[in-house]
Structures are given as structure tokens and as C-alpha cells.
Amino acid sequence: MGFLNDMLVAPFLDIASEPIFFIEVVVGGLSAGVMYSLVALGFVLIFKASGVFNFAQGVLALFAALTLVGIMEWGVPIPIALMMTAGVMVALAFAIERLVLRPLVNQEHIILFMSTIGLAFFLEGLGDTLWGSNVKRLDIGIPDSPFEVGGVLMNEFELVAAATAASLVAVLAVFFHYTRIGRALRAVADDHQAALSVGIPLKTIWIIVWSVAGIVALVAGIMWGSKSGVQFSLSLIALKALPVLILGGFTSVPGAIVGGLIIGVGEKIAEIYWGPALGGAIEGWFAYMLALVFLVFRPQGLFGERIIERV
């Protein structure tokens, strides 16, 4: 009875009695959700254009942040360091296409998926070997001071993160819809063979997609790194991005954003209001369970294309 009360009644009473605190929880969840979205965005880009489920996206973000910190430690000014890191990510995209994807063309999806897990291990080891494995501080001058709106405590950093994510999505949307390369990308996503037959070079497209995903990983890495330091746990965010993808649909850019926000808010609320009744630390699995329940009712996600199967 006490447990039922803790599960069904008490949380709502708590919410009703302290609405300001509830809003703060939601805002905190939204800001975490933006971070998930940034990682999920990289997944979606690659999945759309090549059908590869890129497990290494989280490690890409870690690697980008590590590289940025490493370059900045040489005393390079921030804008140049950013450019250099972006250059490294593009070079990495070339290397991945040439050394991993091209030899594995036409293999089954699970083989490609496994190769990205191998890639994740490789990049993790490479980043640690090059830049060391201790936790590093990343500070590129993003303002980080709290302020109050109508009694709700907020942080400038959260606003910057949200604005970054929004502008990134806007830029990507423009890029996908109004440029020649963007149209080619959508064509490849639609049908590889048809795209090839009208003369779209698949290899170039893959390099571009992986470069864009690398840049998105860089942005995600900067955001996470400035918030909680550059460390290995960053790559675990990749796993959190999976339920986000499920919720939003594997092929939808807006889905990645909305899914990330839902997961971020959902797990914060669950942790704070339902966590104590269940024994705490339910953040670790709540997102996956939410995705699991969601899958049973809507397998293609919120914005995913309807799955049609034929023999």
C-alpha cells in the first residue's frame, strides 16, 4: 500500500505542491535532452545516408573533444584549434571510408555494425594513446552563470547548448534541402542503386556524411566536455542516444531532437519523483525501458518512415 502510494499518488502531490521546482527539473531534463539529441543527430545522419548503424558516434564525440583539448594545450588560439579539430574529423572520415567502409561494401548490416564497434574501440585507444586518459577540462569561453526567470533557476550554458543544437539542425535542414550535395545525400538515402545509376558518386557521399557526422560529434563533444569534463564516460552517452533514436525514428532529424528532449525530461522526472520509491539511480535504465515500451506500440518511432515488408 505504501509502495502504491509512493508510485501513484505521492509524486503527483509533490509536483502540485512545488510547481517551480518541477519546472526546474523539466529545464534540467531539457538541457540533458539537448545533449542526447546532439549525439543522436550524428547517428541519424549516417544511418540515413549509408544504412550503417554507427556505434562509434559517441566515441567520435570523445575523440573530437580530446583532440580539441590536446590542440589547445599546445597554446593554439580557440578558433584555429576548432578549425584544426574539424580538419582532423574530416581526415578521419576519409580514413574510415577508405579503410573500413569500402572493403566492407555489400556486407550484411550486422557486419557493418560490428565494424563500427571495432572502430569505437580503435578510436578510444587512439585518443587515449595520443592525449592521455585523465579527465580534462575543456573551456572555450561558453558563459556558465546561473540566472532566474520568474522564480525558475536557469543556467546560461543550457541556453547556449539549446541555441547551438537549434542552429545545427537549421543548418543541416538547409544543407539537406537546398544544396546540390544535400539532394544527392537524400537520393542515396532513398535508394543506393538508383542514386548510383544517375551518377551520384557513392564514395564521395559517404565521406561527406561521415565528415558532417564528425563535425556534429565535435559540437556534441564540446558541449558535453565543457559541462562535465572530457572523459571516457562521454562515449557512454552513445548508448543513451540509442533509446533516443528508437523514440524519434532512425531516419528522422527532427525525431532525434524531439526524442532526445523526451528522454532527457522523462528520465529526470522519473529519477526525482519515482526514483526514491524504486531505490534510486533509475536513470541508468529508464530511457531503455521507455524505448522498449514505446517500441511495442509504435515500432517505427515518432517520425520514422512506416516499415513495410515484402517477401
Partner: protein, 357 residues
């Protein structure tokens, strides 16, 4: 020259359907078994048995379990660690709750618990597949580990949060616990592996295995020819989790002796997945070869980096992760069907040797 089936005539259906139809294969396998059961316990030292052979046998069993689900039935799973944890904790609760219960019975019963949990988390597989299912199995991984961490009943309210293998004996010989000799643990793990390898091999050759493979190759077509997806998929989850659960119980009882939930985290799931990918999807032999490879390689790499190149242990660890990732990609590119396929190619080559034309 020595490996020919020429002159070996089969006079019964039984002989035709044998797992090893060629006499030389049977001799080879018998020799391997004799070496494994008799020679190894006599000559191997404790380090080899404890650090290499027992983990290899236990992981090989786990890999066979996952291979049923992923290799034969085609359901990608990242929840192996969770199912193995169920086996480990079930065996702990059973053997501390009923100390007089035979330890082998405990292993089998804990496999049963893991099978029940596996069926529950396999339910979404009826609606989803591929990567979606992988995420669903991730839910089981994280939820189960959280459950065993949070609910003190599972570790008998032990303040340190660990579970320790109590001493249990069979036929008067100590099998588990700190005082059991490595040789006995080794033989127990080996017997279980051989037993389940034979059982699984026969299962996948029969009607059930064919149904699994039909579901894997194209589930809609399989449904049309009269295979029930519900029963077939859930059976795959049940059998796979059963074997993985026993492997988890062995990992706890025979290898570690004392574990926390961290031993069963997501990395264990990936490790077992690597074993079946490198060994070969849909092959019992491949599971064993893959487990041998994944257990041996880090040890070889560490010895190479620290011993030969004189690197610091920390740097060596990083370089090891890097080389490990690189090797996985390399293996996938060179032979996507794994070591089992290489084994087959070697046998084909050997049949024609030394006159390939």
C-alpha cells in the same frame, strides 16, 4: 593425403547423418578430448588453468548461447551480460538457500531462471527486429544489473555488495569455493562445455534449428511456410538465455569466485558478441574458436607490449584497446564469416593436399 573420405562407405542413415562423418575427424576430436580431459589437468600449471583455460571454457559456453540467438535465429542481442548475471545470482540464491542441493542441479536450475527472464525480454522481438531489438535487449542489460545492485535480497544483504561462491562438493570432491583445486573447476567447466556443445549442435541440426534459421533468413517467408514466429523466437530466447545463464553461474562459481554486478556489465555483452562474430555466426565450432581468440589475444598483446616493447602498463592498455579494435575490423574485412569458415577452408584444402589439381 591423410585426410580423405575415400573408401569410407556409409551403410546406414545414422552414419550418413553423423556430426563427424569422416573417420579422420572423429579421431581428431577424440584426440582433442583426451588431451583436454587427461593431459591438460596433468601438465598445465595453476596460472594457465585459472587465468586462461577456465575463462575460455566459460566464455565458449556463453558464446554458444548467444550464437543460438544471434547466429541461428538472427535476433541481435546486447543483453548477454544481463542474462549471465541472472544465472550467477540465481545460482547464488539457490545454493545458499538450499545448501544440500547438488551443484550441477543448481547450475541447471539457474539456467532455467535465466531462460524465463530471457523469454520475458524476448517478447518485444515479436514486433521488432534488427537494431531496434538490440536496443530492447540493452534495456534488459541495464535493468537487470540495476536490479541486482539495488535489491539487497539478491546478495543476501552482504554489506560489501558482492556474492561469494560457497564451498560445494560432489562425490566428495570440492567443486566450488576458494579451496577447490583449479583442476576440478577446469574439468567441471570442460564437461559442461562438451555436454552443451553436443546438445546444441544436435538441436540446431534438427527441426527446431531449421525453424530458427528460416526465421533468421527471412521471417515473413518462414511464417508463410508454416513456422510460428512466436514460439520459434521465444524458444530461441529461452534456449539461448538458458545456456548463457549457466555460463554466468559458472563464471561466478568457477572463475571469479566472488563477483559484483560490474562483472556482468555491458562490456561482457560486447565481449561475447565479438566472440561469435570473430568465431563465426551460426557455428558451434566458431563459438569455441572465437572464445579462444578473444581470451588469448589480450594476454598475448599485453605480453608483447610490456614484455617486448617495454611499454608502461597504462600505455600498453591503451595500445591494446586500439589494436583490439583494429583487429576486429581487419577480421571482418578479411573473413566476415569468421574463424569457423577459415577452419572449413583449411579442411577443404587438406582434402586435396598435396595434389590440388
Amino acid at each position: 593425403m591423410i585426410y580423405r573420405e575415400a573408401g569410407q562407405f556409409k551403410t546406414s542413415y545414422g552414419a550418413d547423418q553423423a556430426i563427424f562423418p569422416i573417420a579422420q575427424d572423429r579421431v581428431f576430436i577424440a584426440a582433442v578430448l583426451i588431451v583436454a580431459f587427461v593431459v591438460v589437468p596433468l601438465v598445465a600449471n595453476d596460472y594457465w588453468i585459472n587465468a586462461i583455460l577456465i575463462p575460455f571454457l566459460v566464455y565458449a559456453l556463453a558464446a554458444i548461447g548467444l550464437n543460438i540467438l544471434t547466429g541461428y535465429a538472427g535476433q541481435l542481442s546486447l543483453g548477454t551480460g544481463g542474462f549471465m548475471a541472472v544465472g550467477a545470482y540465481a545460482s547464488y540464491k539457490l545454493t545458499t538457500g538450499f545448501p544440500e542441493l547438488n551443484i550441477i542441479v543448481v547450475f541447471v536450475l539457474s539456467g532455467g531462471f535465466a531462460a524465463a527472464v530471457g523469454v520475458f525480454f524476448g517478447l518485444p522481438s515479436l514486433r521488432i527486429k534488427g537494431f531496434y531489438l538490440a536496443v530492447a535487449t540493452l534495456a534488459s542489460q541495464f535493468f537487470l544489473i540495476w536490479l541486482f545492485n539495488r535489491v539487497a535480497w539478491f546478495y543476501n544483504y552482504n554489506p560489501s555488495g558482492t556474492i561469494d561462491a560457497p564451498p560445494r562438493e560432489m562425490f566428495g570432491v570440492l567443486i566450488t569455493g576458494a579451496l577447490a583445486t583449479p583442476e576440478v573447476k577446469y574439468l567441471t567447466a570442460l564437461s559442461m562445455l562438451v555436454l552443451f556443445a553436443v546438445l546444441v549442435k544436435n538441436l540446431v541440426r534438427g527441426r527446431i534449428g531449421r525453424a530458427w534459421m528460416a526465421i533468421r533468413d527471412m521471417d515473413i517467408a518462414a511464417e508463410i511456410i508454416g513456422i510460428r514466429p512466436l514460439q520459434t523466437k521465444l524458444l530461441a530466447f529461452a534456449v539461448s538465455s538458458f545456456v548463457c545463464g549457466i555460463a554466468g553461474a559458472e563464471l561466478f562459481m568457477l572463475h571469479f569466485g566472488s563477483v559484483e554486478t560490474i562483472a556482468f556489465d555491458i562490456n561482457l555483452s560486447f565481449l561475447v558478441l565479438f566472440m561469435i562474430i570473430i568465431g563465426g555466426l551460426g557455428s558451434v565450432m566458431g563459438s569455441i574458436l572465437g572464445a579462444a581468440f578473444i581470451v588469448l589475444m589480450p594476454i598475448l598483446l599485453t605480453n608483447l607490449f610490456v614484455g617486448v616493447f617495454g611499454m608502461q602498463a597504462v600505455d600498453a592498455k591503451h595500445a591494446e584497446i586500439m589494436v583490439f579494435g583494429g583487429l576486429i575490423i581487419f577480421f571482418l574485412i578479411v573473413e566476415p564469416h569468421g574463424l569457423a569458415r577459415l577452419w572449413q577452408i583449411a579442411k577443404e584444402k587438406l582434402r586435396l593436399w598435396p595434389f590440388p589439381h
